[in-house]
């Protein structure tokens, strides 16, 4: 029971990580794009 709960928590943590990462990744891309555009 405790093990199952553990697996669920790991999955939930992973999912949250992916979601936050997606936002961070898009923001990073937008930042580099803007910087490149400014440097042109």
């Amino acid at each position: 029971m405790a093990e199952e709960k553990n697996v669920q928590e790991i999955k939930a943590g992973y999912g949250r990580g992916v979601l936050v990462g997606l936002f961070v990744g898009i923001a990073l891309f937008m930042l580099t794009y803007y910087l490149l555009l400014m440097a042109k």
Partner: protein, 370 residues
């Protein structure tokens, strides 16, 4: 024991969160880049299929501005248009002001646009071409005389006349040419109205104060936009189906391909838009991706007003890496100043013969490409 398990659980969750975030960040970054067509454009979009025409080459080119001053007082001109009913009114129905203008030529607000071109072919033959005929006959005759064009017309040395479009300042001065050379071969873009052909035949339009006492008797060719119109090796005209203010339709402009230099664009007013023009050349003419020079009216801020979108237009110029820009006429002084400030290669003139500022390639100024 319970505390230890709890600690281990948090650790696992944190570790999996970091792992997930690393994956998400990579996916987000490259996903956004992939979706943004400007970054992976080359990899993701199919290659543009272009049907390029080889127009051949010429050895050299000499461009002389006969007159780029179409009218002398913007307010008087705009007032004439306003009083007649606005920018969509037929130009043959507008009573244009011809007297009492302080800034004008002998009090006349009207001037005109005309460029003289000498193109040296690869075999050494030099073609002499006139682009447009101006507006005010008195002014145009004076300018043609001063630049030695009248003599060339009388001796039929001019090979042909090209009318960029039907606008009054580019066409109404036709009798200044036909008086000396009524047989001159002529090219007009498809879209000329009946009034235009009637004026060529000698009809007068008293309301607009325009007349022609020397009917055209030479060959008249009407060019359309379906293909690149090659006139001689290295010399072509591109015609654009474009509706223009004061009830005019269609405009054409020159494309020269100068050996060892590249493509040179020579325009009248460029109502088709300078970027559209350069894009059309890139997409349809071999070597059109590298434009060496642009000369003539660029029609960006003719009435010296500025819209922020014009800034993008100036930025877009960089894409074509043009080496020489000899702008004048309807380009707008603000545009020329901004282009200069943006580092674009503007060729300055001498501000003579009633051209107002040296930021334009003005009346009597030359641009030689050889």
């Amino acid at each position: 024991m319970t505390k230890e398990v709890l600690h281990m659980d948090n650790d696992f969750t944190r570790r999996s969160f970091v792992k997930g975030m690393a994956l998400g960040t990579l996916a987000g970054y490259f996903g956004a880049a992939a979706l943004s067509s400007t970054v992976f454009k080359k990899q993701l979009l199919p290659e543009e299929k272009l049907n390029l025409t080889d127009i051949g080459q010429i050895k050299g080119l000499k461009l002389k501005v006969i007159s780029e001053t179409s009218w002398y007082d913007n307010n008087v001109f705009l007032n004439d248009v306003k009083k007649a009913g606005g920018l969509l009114v037929n130009q043959y129905e507008i009573p244009w002001t011809r007297e009492g203008v302080k800034a004008g030529y002998q009090g006349d607000n009207l001037g005109g646009f005309s460029t003289y071109i000498e193109a040296e072919l690869l075999d050494g033959k030099v073609l002499k071409i006139l682009l447009d005929t101006g507006w005010n006959t008195h002014w145009m005759e004076k300018r043609y005389e001063e630049e030695g064009i009248t003599k060339k017309l009388v001796s039929k040395e001019i090979d042909f006349l090209v009318s960029s479009h039907e606008h009054m300042d580019h066409f109404f001065g036709i009798q200044a040419i036909l008086r000396h050379y009524p047989d001159i071969p002529m090219y007009v873009p498809r879209g000329f109205y009946q009034e235009g052909f009637d004026l060529l035949k000698g009809k007068s339009f008293p309301k607009a104060n325009v007349s022609n006492d020397s009917p055209h008797r030479g060959k008249l060719s009407i060019l359309d936009s379906k293909q690149v119109n090659i006139l001689y090796p290295g010399i072509a005209l591109m015609t654009f189906d474009v509706p223009i203010i004061l009830r005019v339709f269609g405009e054409q402009a020159f494309v020269f391909n100068v050996k060892d230099k590249g493509i040179v664009l020579v325009t009248g007013c460029c109502h088709q838009g300078i970027i559209s023009y350069m894009e059309a050349v890139r997409k349809s003419i071999k070597g059109g991706d590298k434009i060496y020079a642009v000369q003539g009216g660029l029609h960006i801020s003719p009435f010296e007003d500025w819209d922020p979108q014009y800034d993008d237009l100036i930025l877009a110029f960089n894409k074509y890496s043009v080496k020489t820009i000899g702008c004048n006429h309807c380009t707008g002084f603000i545009t020329a100043e901004k282009m200069l400030k943006a580092g674009l290669p503007i060729v300055k003139g001498t501000a003579r013969h009633m051209s107002k500022r040296d930021i334009y390639l003005g009346n009597g100024d030359e641009l030689i490409i050889a």
